[in-house]
C-alpha cells in the first residue's frame, strides 16, 4: 500500500499542526528491515494506537521517536520544528516521554526520588527533600492520583499499576507533550485498566498527544481515537476508531500471502499415541492448561506477546513448574519439577533466547553439542564414555544432521551466526535422544536459508517419531508447520485450531475475541 500521509482516512482536523510528525523513517538491523519509509502524524489532545503483529516495527518506531535509536533515514518534527535526538534524555527534555513495558524505576527508592532522579531540587547545596516531595505531590495531583500514591512510598511496595502511574507522573514532570506507552495494559487488572483509561482521558484534555502500542484490540477500541496499522515495517493505514471494527483491523494486520516454503505437514497415519497429556494444570501465572501432544506431530502454539507461551514451555520443562493439575508422559503420571528431571525423561527444550540460555558462548561448538550428554554421564568418565574418538565421530555426524556451516567444530560458539547457533542448540538435544522437543521461537532472528533448514529438521524429527511442541510468533511459521494449533491468550489456552487454519482465525483467538473473551467483556460491560 502506498504511503498515505496526505490522505489518511482519518480526519486531519484542518489547520491544527501536529505535535509530532515522522517522515520517511527507515531503520534496518543486521538481517532485517525494521522500518521501511514510515510517515505518521500525531496531534495534540489525541489518543493514537499503533497496532501490528510481532515484528511489525512498532517498538522500533517508538524507540526512534523517543531517542533510544537513531533512524537510518527520515526526519522528525516537533511542533513544526525539525529535531533529532542522540540520547533519550534529549527527547525527554524536549517533551517526549516513553514508558516501557519493563518499568525503569529504582525499587528501593521513594516515588519522589524516582521521579526526580538526576534533577533533584536542592537548597544551599543539600537535597531539598521537602521540596522534592512537594513537587512530586503536585505532579501526582496533576494526574489525579495523589490519593493512591504517596511521594514517600517505596517503589517496590507499589502495585504494577501504581508503578505505571509513577512513570506517567515522571513524564508529566518533564512537561511532556507526547506520551508514548508500550503495552500499557499488559500487566493490569480490569479495574486498573479503567483507571488508566480515565487518566489517559484527562491527559488528553490537557492537550497531550498520547501514543500507545497494544495488542489487545478490546482495549485499543476502548481507549484510542485513531489506530495506525503497521506490517513488516511498513505503514498500512491510519483509521478513525469509529469507522472500523476489530475484525477490520485484524484483516489489515495480517492479510499476506504465504510465500515461504514449508515441508509438507504430517498425515493422520503419521501421528502415534499420546506422548504428553496435561490436565487442568496451573501455576503462578498459567491457568487451566489442557492439551495433548502426540507422537510424530508438530503442535504449534500461537499467541501474542505476553500470552503465556514461554511460561507454558518453562512449566513443561520444570523451570517454573506447574503447581496443580496432572501431567502424563508416555501414559505415566509424572511431576516435572526441575530441568534435570525433564531431561532424564527425554525432554528437550530449545529456548527462546539462545544467547543467554542456549549456548555456552566461549566453549567450542563440539562442547556445546555434547553438554547434555555429558551432564547425564558419570562425571569422571573421559569425555563421553568410549573416549574422545567417539565424540570425534559423533560431532560431525550431528553437525551434518543439523546442517551447520562451519569450518571447524573447535570454534567458539559465540562466533557463529544466529542460525548456526540455533542449530548447535538443536544438535545438543538430538544428541541427548530426547523424544519430546519444545521449541520456543525456533527461527527468530535467523536468515532465510537457515530458517528453511531448521523447518526441514523439525519435520524430520517428527518422522522419527519425536513429538514437537513449537511456539512461534510468526504466523506463517505456525500455519506452515503445525499439524494442530493451540492458541494462547491471557495465560490460558484460548482455543485449538486444525492445520492450515487462517491467520485471521488465529488472530481472533489471540486477541481475545474467542467465545470466552467475548463473554468476559460482556460481563465487564455490566459493571
Amino acid at each position: 500500500m502506498a504511503n498515505e500521509i496526505n490522505q489518511t482516512s482519518s480526519q486531519n482536523s484542518g489547520n491544527i499542526q501536529p505535535t509530532m510528525e515522522v517522515q520517511n523513517i527507515s531503520k534496518r538491523f543486521p538481517g532485517v528491515v525494521a522500518l521501511d519509509d514510515v510517515s505518521l502524524q500525531f496531534f495534540p489532545g489525541e489518543i493514537h494506537a499503533i497496532v501490528g503483529e510481532n515484528g511489525a516495527g512498532k517498538s522500533t518506531l517508538m524507540k526512534i521517536m523517543s531517542g533510544a535509536y537513531i533512524p537510518d533515514s527520515g526526519k522528525i518534527y516537533l511542533d513544526g520544528g525539525k529535531v533529532s535526538f542522540a540520547h533519550p534524555r534529549e527527547a525527554q527534555k524536549k517533551g517526549i516521554s516513553i514508558i516501557y513495558q519493563e518499568f525503569n524505576l529504582l525499587p528501593e527508592r521513594t516515588v519522589a526520588h524516582n521521579i526526580f532522579l538526576g534533577r533533584e531540587p536542592s537548597k544551599f547545596g543539600a537535597l531539598d527533600v521537602r521540596q522534592m516531595n512537594k513537587q512530586a505531590r503536585e505532579v501526582l495531583m496533576e494526574i489525579g492520583v495523589e490519593k493512591m500514591v504517596s511521594p514517600t512510598a517505596l517503589a517496590s511496595g507499589l502495585s504494577v499499576a501504581e508503578q505505571q502511574l509513577v512513570e506517567i507522573a515522571k513524564a508529566i514532570s518533564f512537561n511532556a507533550k507526547v506520551l508514548i506507552m508500550d503495552e500499557p495494559t499488559a500487566a493490569l487488572s480490569f479495574t486498573e485498566v479503567k483507571l488508566l483509561h480515565d487518566l489517559v482521558s484527562r491527559l488528553k484534555q490537557k492537550g497531550m498527544s498520547i501514543i500507545f502500542i497494544s495488542h489487545r484490540l478490546v482495549e485499543v477500541f476502548d481507549i484510542a481515537e485513531k489506530i495506525t496499522v503497521l506490517k513488516d515495517g511498513k505503514f498500512i493505514k491510519t483509521v478513525d476508531k469509529k469507522d472500523v471494527t476489530p475484525a477490520d483491523i485484524v484483516y489489515l494486520m495480517v492479510g499476506r500471502t504465504l510465500d515461504h516454503y514449508f515441508p509438507p505437514l504430517g498425515k493422520p497415519e503419521d501421528f502415534g499415541e499420546v506422548v504428553l497429556k496435561i490436565n487442568d494444570a496451573s501455576n503462578e501465572c498459567l491457568k487451566d492448561i489442557n492439551f495433548e501432544l502426540r507422537k510424530g506431530e508438530v503442535l504449534g502454539v500461537a499467541g501474542l506477546q505476553g500470552s503465556g507461551r514461554t511460561e507454558l514451555a518453562q512449566a513443561l520443562f520444570g523451570v517454573v513448574p506447574f503447581k496443580s493439575g496432572k501431567m502424563e508422559l508416555h501414559g505415566k503420571g509424572i511431576a516435572i519439577k526441575s530441568p534435570a528431571k525433564a531431561i532424564k525423561n527425554k525432554m528437550g527444550f530449545v529456548t527462546e533466547d539462545r544467547k543467554s540460555e542456549g549456548i555456552t558462548p566461549r566453549q567450542p561448538i563440539r562442547d556445546n553439542m555434547l553438554l547434555t550428554v555429558r551432564s547425564t554421564q558419570f562425571l569422571l568418565s573421559s569425555i563421553l564414555k568410549d573416549g574422545i574418538r567417539k565424540s570425534r565421530k559423533l560431532v560431525p555426524m550431528l553437525g551434518k544432521q543439523v546442517d551447520i556451516r562451519t569450518d571447524s567444530f573447535d570454534r567458539e560458539a559465540q562466533f557463529l551466526s544466529g542460525g548456526n547457533q540455533q542449530k548447535v542448540v538443536l544438535a545438543k538435544w538430538l544428541a541427548s535422544d530426547a523424544d519430546v522437543f519444545i521449541f520456543d521461537e525456533p527461527t527468530r532472528g535467523i536468515d532465510v536459508e537457515s530458517k528453511a533448514s531448521i523447518h526441514d529438521m523439525i519435520r524430520d524429527l517428527t518422522r522419527r517419531g519425536i513429538a514437537v511442541l513449537m511456539i512461534s510468533s510468526e504466523l506463517p511459521e505456525i500455519i506452515g508447520m503445525s499439524d494442530r494449533i493451540l492458541v494462547m491468550a491471557e495465560w490460558q489456552i484460548a482455543g485449538e485450531l486444525p492445520a492450515k487454519s487462517s491467520e485471521q482465525a488465529i488472530m481472533l483467538f489471540a486477541t481475545g475475541h474467542s467465545k470466552n473473551a467475548q463473554k468476559n467483556s460482556e460481563l465487564a460491560g455490566k459493571e
Binding site: 520443562f317 553438554l371 547434555t372 555429558r374 562425571l379 573421559s382 563421553l384
Partner: protein
C-alpha cells in the same frame, strides 16, 4: 572464518602463513617466561644457566604451580578461592605439632591434612551453593577460620620442627640422574599432579562441565548440569591441591608463623599472568603452571635487581590489575 586471499604462489608461503597463525595463538605467557628466564641467565649465569640452577628454580616454583592450577579450576568455574594461603599456613603449623618430632608420624600427619583439605573444600562449595554467599566472601571468611584455627591449635607458635622425611617432598632431590644431574622431588610431584589434573580438567565430563558453568550457568542448568555437585568438587580439588602445595612449601621453607601469607594472591596472579579469564569459562592447566613459573621468575628477577622483597608485593598487585585490565579491555574491543 577468514579467507586468505593470498594469490597462491606455492607451498612455502602457505607454510609460513600457517606457522605465523600458529605463533599468534600462543599465549603470551610462554615467550614472556622464556624472555625473563634468559635475562636471569644473563644476570646470574651460575644460577640460571646451569641445569643445577634450573632445578633449584623449579623446586621453588613447583608448589606455586600446583596452587595455581588448583585455583585455576575455581576461576574457570567463575568463582574465587581465597583460602588457599591459609591452608598452606595450616598445613605447616599443624603438621609441626602433629609430627611431635617423630618421623613415624609423617604419613598419618599428611593423611590428616588431606582430610582437612577435603573438608575445607566441601564447606567452601556448600556455602556458595546453598547459602548463596559469593565465593569471594565465603573463602575470605574461610581464610580467617583456617588461619585462626591453625594458630589456635599450635598456641600461636610452631610446636616442633618438621621431620626430615616430611620435608623430603619439598626439599630433596633425586641424585645422579642421567642428563639432569639432580631432580627435585617437587618437580616430579608437580608433573604427576599436573598430568592427573590435566586429565580431569581437559579430558573428563567434569572438566567440561566446570567450564560450562563458568561460561553460562543458566544454559548449563537448562542442559542438566548438576551445578552444585560440580562446584563442590571443584572447591575440594583446589583445597586438596593447596594442602599438597603446603607440604612442599613447608618442606623447603621450614616452619614459621607467617608462612602461608599471600599465597592466594600469588595463585590468582599466576593464573592471570597465564591468561586465565577471571570471569570463568576458560582455563588451561599448562598456562597456569607457566604463569606460576613466570611469576616466580619475576620475583627472582626483582630480587636479583636489588628490589627489596616487600616491593614484590606491590609489583604483584600491579601485575594483577594490569593483566585483568588488559584482558578485559581486549575482550571489549572484540565486541
Amino acid at each position: 572464518m577468514t579467507t586468505t586471499s593470498v594469490t597462491s604462489p606455492g607451498g612455502f608461503t602457505k607454510l609460513l602463513v600457517t606457522i605465523w597463525g600458529g605463533i599468534k595463538r600462543i599465549p603470551p605467557v610462554y615467550p614472556i617466561f622464556f624472555l625473563i628466564f634468559i635475562v636471569l641467565g644473563i644476570l646470574n649465569p651460575v644460577k640460571y644457566q646451569s641445569i643445577n640452577g634450573v632445578m633449584t628454580f623449579l623446586r621453588t616454583a613447583s608448589p606455586l604451580a600446583i596452587l595455581a592450577f588448583g585455583e585455576m579450576m575455581v576461576l574457570a568455574l567463575g568463582g574465587f578461592d581465597l583460602s588457599v594461603g591459609a591452608i598452606v599456613t595450616f598445613v605447616v603449623l599443624v603438621s609441626s605439632k602433629l609430627l611431635a618430632n617423630n618421623p613415624a608420624n609423617a604419613f598419618p600427619a599428611i593423611m590428616i591434612m588431606l582430610g582437612f583439605g577435603v573438608a575445607i573444600g566441601l564447606v567452601n562449595g556448600l556455602v556458595v551453593s546453598y547459602l548463596k554467599v559469593p565465593s569471594f566472601i565465603a573463602t575470605l571468611g574461610m581464610m580467617l577460620f583456617v588461619r585462626g584455627g591453625a594458630l589456635y591449635w599450635v598456641g600461636g607458635a610452631p610446636q616442633g620442627y618438621l621431620t626430615d622425611n616430611w620435608r623430603a617432598f619439598g626439599r630433596n632431590y633425586f641424585e645422579n640422574v642421567p642428563i639432569f644431574g639432580r631432580v627435585p622431588y617437587a618437580l616430579l610431584i608437580l608433573i604427576g599432579l599436573a598430568l592427573l589434573t590435566y586429565y580431569i580438567f581437559h579430558r573428563t565430563n567434569l572438566g567440561k562441565q566446570i567450564l560450562a558453568i563458568g561460561d553460562n550457568v543458566r544454559a548449563s542448568q537448562l542442559s542438566g548440569v548438576r551445578v552444585k555437585l560440580v562446584r563442590v568438587l571443584t572447591f575440594v580439588m583446589c583445597s586438596v591441591l593447596a594442602v599438597i602445595a603446603g607440604v612442599m612449601i613447608g618442606g623447603y621453607g621450614g616452619v614459621n608463623v607467617t608462612i602461608g601469607e599471600g599465597f592466594e594472591m600469588q595463585a590468582i596472579a599466576a593464573c592471570v599472568v597465564g591468561g586465565v579469564l577471571l570471569g570463568g569459562g576458560k582455563g588451561s592447566i599448562l598456562n597456569a603452571i607457566f604463569g606460576a613459573f613466570t611469576l616466580q621468575a619475576i620475583v627472582n628477577l626483582l630480587n636479583l635487581l636489588g628490589l627489596p622483597k616487600p616491593y614484590t608485593d606491590a609489583v604483584q598487585g600491579l601485575i594483577i590489575i594490569g593483566a585483568v585490565a588488559y584482558v578485559g579491555l581486549t575482550s571489549m574491543r572484540k565486541r
